[in-house]
């Protein structure tokens, strides 16, 4: 599996692993059946700035690395800015992922969105551009050519 050095670094030394007690928002996405679950905890202050973020991930190397990178990318950002941290941005920050692992980075984006959604619900906020997260993101995953 050809992982970039960045991916390996984040895999070997994942940033922000853990839990936050009484988080502002927490989101869990994925499905253990597919072999990956990601949970993101957010601590958001009154100015809607993400003060702290932690994650836990049950998943492959790419899933761990994207979780780690995603938490780094959203930390210190406003809620609005955090919404802009897409899977593309995470992948780019990691110097890319093998094609079969692209969906793992989607998981990170979804987990952040899910945590933000939880935060919005708890605080009765409406966040522009945030949609209710799907629970299973593996529906439309595609590999290369089909037939055998």
């Amino acid at each position: 599996m050809a992982y970039s050095e960045k991916v390996m670094d984040h895999f070997e030394h994942p940033r922000n692993v853990g839990e936050i007690e009484n988080p502002s928002g927490v989101g869990t996405v994925g499905n253990a059946k597919c072999g990956d679950i990601m949970r993101i905890y957010l601590d958001i202050d009154d100015n809607q700035v993400i003060q702290d973020v932690k994650f836990k991930t049950f998943g492959c190397g790419a899933a761990v690395a994207t979780s780690s990178m995603a938490t780094e990318l959203v930390k210190g950002k406003t809620v609005e800015e955090a919404l802009g941290v897409t899977n593309k941005a995470v992948m780019e920050a990691l110097d890319g992922l093998p094609p079969v692992k692209v969906h793992c980075s989607l998981l990170a984006e979804e987990a952040i969105h899910a945590a933000l959604w939880d935060y919005a619900e708890k605080h009765n906020l409406k966040i522009e551009g945030l949609e209710k997260p799907k629970s299973d993101i593996h529906e439309d995953e595609e590999e290369e050519e089909e037939e055998y």
């Binding site: 599996m1 992982y3 253990a32 991930t57 049950f58 492959c60 761990v64 079969v100």
Partner: protein
């Protein structure tokens, strides 16, 4: 390079240097095409036939019952596809199992698309096929039973003798994919009533790209690769002489040491299994505890995903696998682990460790020590483990 411990001998093995040495002259010196008339090349026909004899002897078979192929996958494809063709007038039903290697499973699925009926037998929680289930699945139109000798992931050795007897009793051909078993456990095709058997040289310290199919005399067999008159007109293609010599040499070496290797490896395997089960909580052994390949151990660690585990072990210089190598491109959990009843999330967290005669107790100790740390670390990161601990607390 630091530590390097190769524990994925079920994926492939190191070619024995003695094997390479035996092959070498056939590249640059005795490179003739064995089908040629002149003596320089015709001598290679002899050499080939010596290798065939070594292999035949190791199975209790006859020399002209061994057909060289390019490996286990070709042998499996050949056995199934050719039988279905040759016995089309007898019937269109074959029996196999849910835990076969993909070389059998995907071939069977292909045959289904051509109108062949296939029964995929269940296995029990240890991966064992019930011979009585084989018997029960037999129909008047059954032409072939194909049950693997030993499973490549969980190492379970199937009741081949019993299944062979049932096949024989019912006049049905019996094929076994022995790619993992050949040269790791003793096999006698007479005693076990085996009509066809697949093997691949790179699983017993021979070279890659060469294997064989044993076909009992009397079995109607069609070609799979059509063309020249090689292999008694059954398998076309210029013979891979160095490969054949490599396989023969590997078979000779492996046959001579079979018993002591099996003893050595299974003791080490048991030591590994005992330590892991005792020292790492929430862990299970997959596959039968006793009816198992001497060199195979397969564990599931709850709350853990296999790939992370493999990569972390790799960082420590340890080569292992989570399922079969050839499906590691896929993200699905192993069909074998699902067939023995593991839930998806546990099937994802499995580890296969396959030893060789070169593996030492120190290697195993190093593996287990690292494994303990790594499993603990990944669990720290796992939301499933978090949930589990919370639930435990509530209790």
């Amino acid at each position: 390079m630091g530590k390097f411990i190769y524990l994925d001998n079920a994926a492939t093995t190191k070619t024995d240097p003695k094997v390479v040495e035996a092959m070498l002259p056939y590249f640059t010196e005795n490179y003739g095409n064995p089908s040629s008339v002149y003596s320089f090349a015709a001598a290679n026909k002899e050499v080939e036939s010596e290798q065939r004899e070594i292999i035949a002897k190791s199975l209790g078979a006859k020399t002209n019952e061994i057909y060289f192929t390019a490996g286990g996958s070709e042998s499996d494809n050949w056995a199934l596809k050719a039988t279905v063709e040759a016995y089309a007038d007898k019937g269109n039903h074959i029996i196999t199992t849910k835990i076969e290697h993909h070389a059998i499973l995907h071939t069977a699925q292909y045959l289904e698309s051509k109108g062949i009926q296939v029964t995929y037998l269940d296995v029990d929680e240890n991966g064992l096929v019930d011979p009585e289930a084989v018997r029960a699945a037999i129909r008047p139109e059954t032409i072939l039973i194909s049950v693997m000798f030993a499973n490549n992931e969980i190492g379970t050795i199937e009741p081949i003798k019993e299944i062979g007897a049932i096949a024989k009793e019912n006049g049905i051909l019996f094929h076994t994919d022995a790619v993992q078993a050949y040269m790791h456990v003793p096999i006698d095709v007479e005693e076990l009533h085996i009509d066809m058997l697949s093997a691949s040289a790179h699983k017993f310290n021979g070279p890659k790209g060469i294997g064989f199919l044993y076909i009992r005399k009397g079995v109607k067999i069609r070609s799979f690769i059509h063309g020249g008159a090689q292999e008694r007109k059954r398998r076309a293609g210029t013979e891979n002489v160095p490969g054949i010599v490599g396989m023969g040499t590997a078979a000779k070496l492996a046959y001579a040491t079979l018993d002591e290797r099996a003893k050595y490896e299974s003791e080490l395997r048991d030591y590994l299994i005992d330590r892991v089960l005792k020292e790492i909580p929430y862990t299970r052994l997959n596959g039968d505890r006793v009816k198992r390949l001497p060199n195979n151990a397969n564990f599931s660690f709850r709350f853990i995903e296999g790939e992370s585990l493999l990569i972390m072990l790799d960082m420590k210089g340890i080569c292992t696998s989570s399922g079969s190598a050839c499906t590691s491109g896929s993200l699905d959990p192993s069909h074998v682990l699902l067939a023995i009843g593991l839930p998806h999330e546990i099937a994802h967290g499995s580890l296969r460790v396959s030893l060789s005669e070169e593996t030492t107790k120190e290697d195993i100790d190093y593996l287990v020590d690292e494994l303990k740390k790594i499993v603990a670390r990944i669990r720290e990161m796992s939301p499933l483990y978090e949930d589990f601990l919370k639930k435990e607390k509530v209790k």
